[in-house]
Each structure stands twice: as structure tokens, then as C-alpha cells.
């Protein structure tokens, strides 16, 4: 081709390329798009109705609070025991978060390593599967004995549970880059690291984020299960320990309060990871886009 300067533009006659993008603004209520409100209000209404029904049944049937406390009593316990409970919540969340960070780091690093070398994947992946299918409850005691440090043991247990979805999803994602795009990178003589950076990693992002959503919840479950196994033997006193303790002492309202905190944490983790996924994918991935048909 010659090196003559490119002229401004070819003449056009009004095909689709002549149109310019116009973005319509949706009506907003309290900062949220009007159409998202029903999705928030409907489940909220159901929840409030269920709580009212629960409280009513407990009062009418006069159920003793060590069998089934009403929601009001649980709420009261939550406030009164807040200091102990929030301390335990903090401990559990710290382990959950650390395990998730470790799962992301190691999962992504291993996935990249595996896709660079088929041999490494073939020889190591089966062991990752073994780790995944072994129930954490059954190896937690061993880990606690071997590692010694209780916090580290809990972290390892939670990590074991959270690790696999990230690993397998990221491997799938790294290998799912469009075949023609891979060819295109070949044509332009892209290096391995260029292909990784500009093609495989972005292509893997939606898969990784789907894995992250699963692993976030699993990390919490792993942390709680490990705490149960460690029980009172440990010095750590996470939420699971509070549940065990309340069970022994028949302080059922407190047990419920701790349970609610675990559920709320799980929901929060799910919402945060979903929000992160949405932030990353909203411009381009089908899963994060509302289609205007």
C-alpha cells in the first residue's frame, strides 16, 4: 500500500453507519432505575409478612423461647449481645475474606499456569479435583492437628472449599477465547504474554467472575464448617463457636441471632460479588446487559 495520507471519509448515503448513538435515560427513583424497584419491594413484602406470621404464631401458641424464639426477641438479643456477636462476626468474616483472597490468587495463578502448559494441567488437575471432592469436615481435624495455629487451619479449610470454582472456571474461560480471534493474534505474531493479556484474560473474565460469586459463598461456608470442627478447642471464637456455645447453654435466641448474622453475611457477599461482576461486564457481556429488543 502507498503511504499517501488517508482522506477524510468516503461519501455516504445514509446506511446504518450514518446513525449516531443516542442514549435514553430511564426514570430514576431514589437513585435507582424505576424498573428495579419491584424486584426489591416484592421480596421485602414477603419477608415482612413471614416475620409477622412467625411472631403471631409464637405468641398465640405460647411457644417457649428455648424452642422457638419470635423475631422480636431475636432482634432484641441481637442488639443486647451485639458486642460479643459482632466480635465473632468480625473473626468469621476475616477468615472468609482471607480465604477468598487466597482462592482468587492461587486459583487464577494456577489456571494461567495450566493453560500455558498442558503437561502441568494434566499432572496437577486431578489433585485439585481430589481436594474439591474431599468433604472439608473430614479433613479439618487433620489440618488443625498438623498446622497447629487455629486461625491458619481455619483459613486453609475455607480456602479448600472456595478454591475449586475459581480454578475450574478460570481454566474454562482462558480456553474459551474465540477461535478466529486466536487465529488473528497468530497472524499478527502476538507473543504468548500478549495473547494472554489482550485475549485470554479478558475472555476469561466473565467465567472468573461467575466462579467468584460461587466461591464467595463457599468461603463463608468453609469458614463456618471449620469453626464447628475446631469447636471450643480453639481460641478463636467465630460465629459458629457462638452457635455451639448457645446450644450448650440453651440460649436459643442468641443462636438464632448468630445464624441470622451468618445468613446476612452470605447475602452481603453475594451482593458484593454480583455488583463487582456487573461493574466489570456491564458494557460488553450478554449476562450483564439488559437488551432493548
Amino acid at each position: 500500500m502507498t503511504d499517501a495520507p488517508m482522506p477524510a471519509s468516503l461519501p455516504h448515503d445514509g446506511t446504518d453507519a450514518e446513525a449516531r448513538p443516542v442514549f435514553a435515560e430511564e426514570r430514576r427513583i431514589l437513585g435507582l432505575a424505576a424498573s428495579t424497584w419491584p424486584g426489591i419491594l416484592a421480596p421485602l413484602a414477603i419477608g415482612i409478612l413471614a416475620l409477622l406470621g412467625w411472631e403471631a404464631i409464637v405468641r398465640i401458641k405460647d411457644i417457649p423461647h428455648y424452642v422457638l424464639p419470635g423475631p422480636l426477641l431475636i432482634a432484641k438479643t441481637l442488639v443486647l449481645d451485639w458486642e460479643t456477636l459482632s466480635g465473632s462476626l468480625w473473626i468469621t468474616l476475616r477468615i472468609t475474606f482471607a480465604a477468598l483472597v487466597a482462592a482468587v490468587t492461587l486459583g487464577v495463578a494456577l489456571a494461567i499456569l495450566f493453560t500455558q502448559s498442558k503437561w502441568l494441567e494434566k499432572s496437577l488437575f486431578p489433585y485439585a479435583v481430589v481436594l474439591q471432592v474431599t468433604p472439608v469436615v473430614s479433613i479439618a481435624p487433620l489440618i488443625i492437628i498438623w498446622v497447629g495455629d487455629i486461625n491458619l487451619s481455619l483459613l486453609i479449610c475455607a480456602w479448600l472449599v472456595a478454591f475449586f470454582p475459581i480454578l475450574s472456571n478460570t481454566i474454562l474461560g482462558l480456553n474459551s477465547a474465540d477461535h478466529n480471534l486466536v487465529n488473528l493474534f497468530q497472524l499478527y505474531r502476538a507473543s504468548r504474554s500478549q495473547t494472554l493479556r489482550h485475549l485470554r484474560l479478558p475472555a476469561a473474565l466473565p467465567y472468573f467472575l461467575a466462579g467468584l460469586k460461587i466461591s464467595g459463598g463457599l468461603a463463608l461456608i468453609g469458614a463456618v464448617v471449620a469453626e464447628f470442627v475446631a469447636g471450643s478447642g480453639g481460641s478463636a471464637s467465630g460465629l459458629a463457636y457462638r452457635i455451639l456455645e448457645s446450644g450448650y447453654q440453651l440460649r436459643i435466641p442468641r443462636m438464632f441471632a448468630a445464624l441470622i448474622m451468618i445468613s446476612a453475611s452470605g447475602i452481603a457477599i453475594f451482593l458484593i460479588t454480583s455488583w463487582i461482576a456487573h461493574l466489570f461486564l456491564r458494557r460488553w457481556h450478554e449476562s450483564a446487559i439488559r437488551r432493548e429488543n
Binding site: 487465529n183 497472524l187 499478527y188 460488553w284
Partner: protein, 268 residues
């Protein structure tokens, strides 16, 4: 390497840009996709590969691009210092049948890709990509993501990406097959205008007789099972070609000739 520019140019004259010699391709599952292809592509010419589905057009085009080695024979680039010993000339553009854009990158970033991979500076790459997008009629869409573009617009981005490095040769694999006729005619005209301006070598795969006659100087007709070349038709009509040409008796006649050749090729 002490030859003068003039001497190199003199030697280059008469030598094809691409010399395909006795090329066959058999896939590992036993399919003989292409058999015994001999074909020269001259510098700056517009050639169409025309043939029915499954006759090995894509396979041949991909081999020219260096994607997949011939099982037998060789593809040489006699005038290129890089494209020898079975290696393809690196200075080429490729347009796939699908737009094949990166969905996570906007139009500008997509067009910048060849330059990003070649290590061209960001500012320079951005300016050249923006120019190229304007040239294919997409000024103002630099920040749009592929999913926000229509099929025709995506194809334009893909062509812009293929041409942004001003390659010696542009290989296109049925680039407009999925588009409606109006858009296809428009893109045909735009492609001819780009070619007229920059005189890259164009290899255009299609199974439309009309498209091949409208665009090219030469039509290579292929037949299937096994894929082979049946005819090499010159299209002796002057450029620029436009709607006048599309409705001329000359065009109708050329189409009839090409169509009959293709029919014979399919019949075997």
C-alpha cells in the same frame, strides 16, 4: 543486499506477490480439502475465489495467511524478504466471515489491535485507528462496543482493523455473506474505493457470482470434493465500477459467463 531500489523493483516486476505451487491440504480426519492448486497472485490485483460451499476456499485462504501448512506443495512470497520457507508475509490483513471483534473492547481499541500487538505507541495507534474508522464511515462510533453496533457496522470495524496497518495484501473470507443486499452493495463500493486508493492486493472469497464480477479483476473458480481450481476468468471491465456498471449489459454478460463456468465446475 547491495541491490539498488531500482534493481529490486525491476526484479520484482513479473514476479508474483504470492506463488502457490502444487498445494494440497488433507486434514487429520482424512478430508482432502484442497488438491493440486497452482495459483499466482500479482501485486495490487483484486482476485476473487468463487466456488460452492465446501470447496476449500477458506482452507486455501487460511493457508495463504499462514494459518495451517499445506500438506503438499508450497506457498511462496518471492518478493518478500520475510515470507519464505513456508512462512507467510507478516504484512497482511485478514477479514473473517464473522466480524470477530473483541467484545470487551470498543471499536477504536479493536481497530488498534494490530498496532498494539506490533508495539506501536498508543497515541499514534489511536490516531491511525480513528482515521481508519472515519474512512469506513464510522466516525463518532469510536467508543461504541461491538454489541452496540449493527452487523454491517461490525463488518466495517473488522475491515478497518484489517486495513489499519496498510498491509500489502488483504485476505477476506466471505466478509459480507451475512449482510443484507443494500448493505452489501454499499460495502462493496466502499471496499473498491479503499482498494482504488491504496492498491493493496485483495483476495476475496465469495460464493456470489455477482459480487465476484462486480469487485474483481480476476475470478478463480473452484470446485468441491476435492477442492481444486477449475477456471481462471479475467474480468475486463474498467474501474471505477458503480451502479451504472451494475446495470450494464457488460456486467450481465460477465455474470453469465462466470455463472456458466461455476455451473460447469459444480457439475464436475
Amino acid at each position: 543486499m547491495t541491490q539498488t531500489v531500482a534493481a529490486v523493483a525491476k526484479e520484482a516486476r513479473g514476479r508474483p506477490l504470492v506463488a502457490i505451487r502444487g498445494v494440497s491440504k488433507q486434514f487429520s480426519n482424512g478430508t482432502l480439502a484442497v488438491r493440486g492448486v497452482d495459483l499466482d497472485l500479482a501485486d495490487g490485483e483484486f482476485v476473487s475465489l468463487l466456488g460452492p460451499s465446501g470447496c476449500g476456499k477458506s482452507t486455501l485462504l487460511r493457508m495463504i495467511a499462514g494459518l495451517g501448512e499445506p500438506s503438499v506443495g508450497a506457498i511462496d512470497w518471492p518478493t518478500s524478504p520475510y515470507g519464505s520457507n513456508g512462512r507467510a508475509e507478516p504484512d497482511l490483513g485478514f477479514v473473517f466471515q464473522d466480524p470477530t471483534l473483541m467484545p470487551w473492547a470498543n471499536a477504536l481499541k479493536n481497530v488498534m489491535l494490530p498496532m498494539t500487538l506490533a508495539g506501536v505507541g498508543k497515541a499514534d495507534a489511536e490516531a491511525r485507528a480513528a482515521d481508519m474508522l472515519a474512512l469506513v464511515g464510522l466516525r463518532g462510533f469510536e467508543k461504541s462496543y461491538p454489541r452496540e453496533l449493527s452487523g454491517g457496522m461490525k463488518m466495517r470495524v473488522s475491515i478497518a482493523r484489517g486495513l489499519v496497518t496498510k498491509p500489502k495484501i488483504l485476505l477476506m473470507d466471505e466478509p459480507f455473506a451475512a449482510l443484507d443486499e443494500i448493505t452489501r452493495h454499499k460495502l462493496n463500493d466502499d471496499l473498491l474505493a479503499l482498494w482504488d486508493r491504496n492498491r493493496f492486493t485483495a483476495v476475496f472469497v465469495t460464493h456470489s457470482v455477482f459480487e465476484s464480477v462486480y469487485l474483481s479483476q480476476r475470478i478463480v473458480v473452484m470446485a468441491a470434493r476435492p477442492g481444486r481450481i477449475m477456471a481462471d476468468l479475467p474480468v475486463d471491465a474498467p474501474y471505477p465500477r458503480d451502479d451504472l456498471f451494475r446495470t450494464s449489459a457488460e456486467y450481465a454478460h460477465l455474470c453469465r459467463v462466470a455463472s456458466e463456468t461455476l455451473k460447469k465446475a459444480i457439475a464436475g
